[in-house]
Structure formats: structure tokens, C-alpha cells
Symmetry: C2
Subunit: 214 residues, 2 copies
């Protein structure tokens, strides 16, 4: 059965990116510190052509997530670039010629754009009908595997509000950003219908897993 | 040396109490769930005249905190009762005849009130000059031990904004409240000047310790 999961990292004060995001600073002021736990993993480094790195409690969390993902959903800002219509020679995002997904990625955007086929099996499809439509397309593309919603805050909060998630895999990095893009903002009492299942403490991160309360 | 410390529990979405706090529901809708990790500890239960309970990774965290505290600061709402001037026959708060502090407690309030001396060495002193004044009074009362700021969200956020804290002992309970009193709201980039020192994962809680970045 295909589950729909949000996998995302926040600061201890609840932000998935700092303020003042830009082409030069895609995660905003201080935002890179959120991902220190991942960037120092051997698994992450080898995936990005780097040597060395750690094997720790995060390794298994990441490996399970990667192995179970059949399709990804993300927001326009996470794909890359400033807001607004795509330029004539559209930039192909933060992800380079060989993006690390190796499956279908659905980008939620207000602005139509032809699909982008990359090396290694990654295709970006641009969805203008909203996050629910993107999740349904991803579900069809995922086969027996899961749909991973990768962020950012706006897409995550929309999925929570629309009750689209079977699982929330929330990593909390023990840093303060002080400002930026807040996840889990104004959920409202009784939302989401997700119950705590597991906590894994790792260096520079705690991984919390929630799933649909049954 | 006396350190000033905020010790507080939030939900995974950042609230220290739910909405609609009242005399009947002092922690607001859903708020009691934040403290499940503590209420099931043998240490907490014996302190409140109850038998049984667990010994787990939280036990040592709580024991160290209690042993090192010489004075406590809290907000009016945490002391108890609705806002506004104290009535003629003022209620003595949530804490009963023998409060669990056994030291000087300074309550930040807009409304003057004579000190309240309780059994077991607890005295409540009502401070109308603001949180900084309350922390200074507590520092003088704490002797060689530490000042513990116990909450709620308003007092905690005021201490963070005024840079009064040497340490933050933040416990995160893996439940969603969805609404209520938010801690760590709008700190601003670069605030607080606190660095992560330790994470202790326990049943129904993760304890994070931060202290002044040096």
C-alpha cells in the first residue's frame, strides 16, 4: 500500500528555512545549519560524490526513507528559483544534471512548464492544480512504494491542513533560526490526526515518526 | 555561580499550553498531555504522595534540575487564577497547602499582593516590576544554587527576548496541540545566544539542553 509521508527538518523553534531566501542562499539565513546532521553522513556524502562521513543513528533512518520512496512532491521554491513565471530559458533548479531522486518528482507551482527529464531516472513534472493533485499524480507514479512530500513549509502545511498525510517524519535540529518559514503553524486543535510512533536520537538531530492515528 | 535557567515543556508544534485555559482546565485543551512524561515518573508521583511509576531517562534529568534549583520564577497564570486584580480573599493558586518548591518563588504579576508563606519552605512573593526584577530577586534568594524560570510561555519568551537565560532546558513532548501559548515565537535571527549541549531521549519526551554560547 502506498503511504503519503512528509519528510522534513525543522529548527528547534519550528522553521524549515531561515528568512531572506535567495538564489545565493536557498535555505535563508542560518538554514544550512538545519541539515548538518545529514551533510555529515557517509550515506549523504557518497550519494553526492564525496568521501568520508559518519555512520550513526541517522543512517538507517535515511536509508529506509530512500528505499521506500517511489515518487516525490515538492514546492516550487524547493525545486529552485525565484517566484513568478518561468523565464524563456528556464533554470533547472538546485538539483543539477543528475538529481538525487531517481524517480518521478512533482513540483507544485502556479506557472505551467513542460516536464524536465534528467539523468538517472529523475523527471520533474510541474503541477498547477495544487498539492492534492500533485499527491495523486505521485501516488500513481509511486507503484508499490510511498509518496514522499519533501517540503518546503508551505507545501508541508498545506498537506497537513488537507489531511493528506499517512505519516510525518519530522527531524528536529537543535539550532535556533529565529525567523523564516514555519512548519506546524496554526494547525488548529485536533489536527493533524497523527500519533507518535518512534523517536530516534542521533548526532545533531532527533527523528520523530508520527502516523495516522488508528 | 548562580545560573538562570528556563525549564519548560512544549508540544512538537511549540505550545506550552493549549487554548481556552480556565480554572477547570489550567493547561488548556490538550495541555495535560504535554506532561505525561513527568506524571508517570516515580519521582514525580512520590513527590505528590502517589505510589508506583517509572524510573527512566527522565528521572535523572528531573533530579538534577530539582537539586540545583534555589529559587523559582513564574508568571501569574502559572501561579494560578484568572487575570486581573487579586480578589479580597485571594485564592492561593494551583499549588495547594504544601507546594512542591520548598524555596522562594517569585510570581510576575501586574497586581500587587502580600507574600504567601506556605508549608514546607515555599514562599510566593509577587513582583510587579517585571521579569528582569523577578529574576534578580530570585538570584539573591537562590544562594549558590540556580534560578529556575518555570514558565509559562509569556515569561519564557520575555526571558529569551531580554537575554536573561544562561541555560534553556527544553522538553519536547511528541503531541500536537494545534493552538495555544507558543514558546520560541518570533525570537529574531541571532537570538537566543544559546548553543545545544545535550539531548536525552526518554519515553514520551526528549530533553534538550542549551546554554550560553561561549
Amino acid at each position: 500500500m502506498t503511504n503519503v509521508r512528509l519528510t522534513i527538518t525543522t529548527s528547534i523553534d519550528g522553521f524549515v528555512a531561515g528568512p531572506h531566501q535567495s538564489l545565493e542562499d536557498p535555505l535563508g539565513v542560518g538554514g544550512m545549519a538545519l541539515h548538518a546532521w545529514a551533510l555529515e553522513l557517509a550515506a549523504w556524502r557518497s550519494q553526492h560524490g564525496l568521501e568520508g562521513g559518519e555512520v550513526n543513528a541517522s543512517t538507517d533512518v535515511v536509508a529506509k526513507s530512500v528505499a521506500s520512496t517511489g515518487a516525490t512532491v515538492m514546492g516550487r521554491k524547493m525545486f529552485g528559483g525565484p517566484p513568478g513565471p518561468w523565464p524563456d530559458d528556464p533554470w533547472s533548479g538546485w538539483w543539477g544534471d543528475d538529481p538525487p531522486f531517481h524517480h518521478a518528482v512533482f513540483v507544485v507551482t502556479h506557472h505551467p512548464r513542460a516536464p524536465l527529464v534528467c539523468q538517472g531516472g529523475t523527471t520533474f513534472t510541474f503541477v498547477t492544480e495544487g498539492v492534492t493533485a500533485a499527491v495523486e499524480l505521485a501516488r500513481a507514479a509511486a507503484g508499490e512504494r510511498d509518496v514522499n512530500v519533501a517540503g518546503g513549509a508551505s507545501i508541508g502545511n498545506q498537506c497537513l491542513a488537507a489531511d493528506l498525510l499517512d505519516e510525518l517524519h519530522l527531524t528536529v535540529s537543535p539550532v535556533f533560526l529565529g525567523d523564516g518559514e514555519r512548519l506546524l503553524a496554526d494547525l488548529g486543535v485536533g489536527s493533524p490526526q497523527l500519533a507518535h510512533r518512534e523517536t530516534v536520537a542521533a548526532p545533531r538531530a532527533v527523528h520523530y515518526r508520527f502516523d495516522r492515528a488508528r
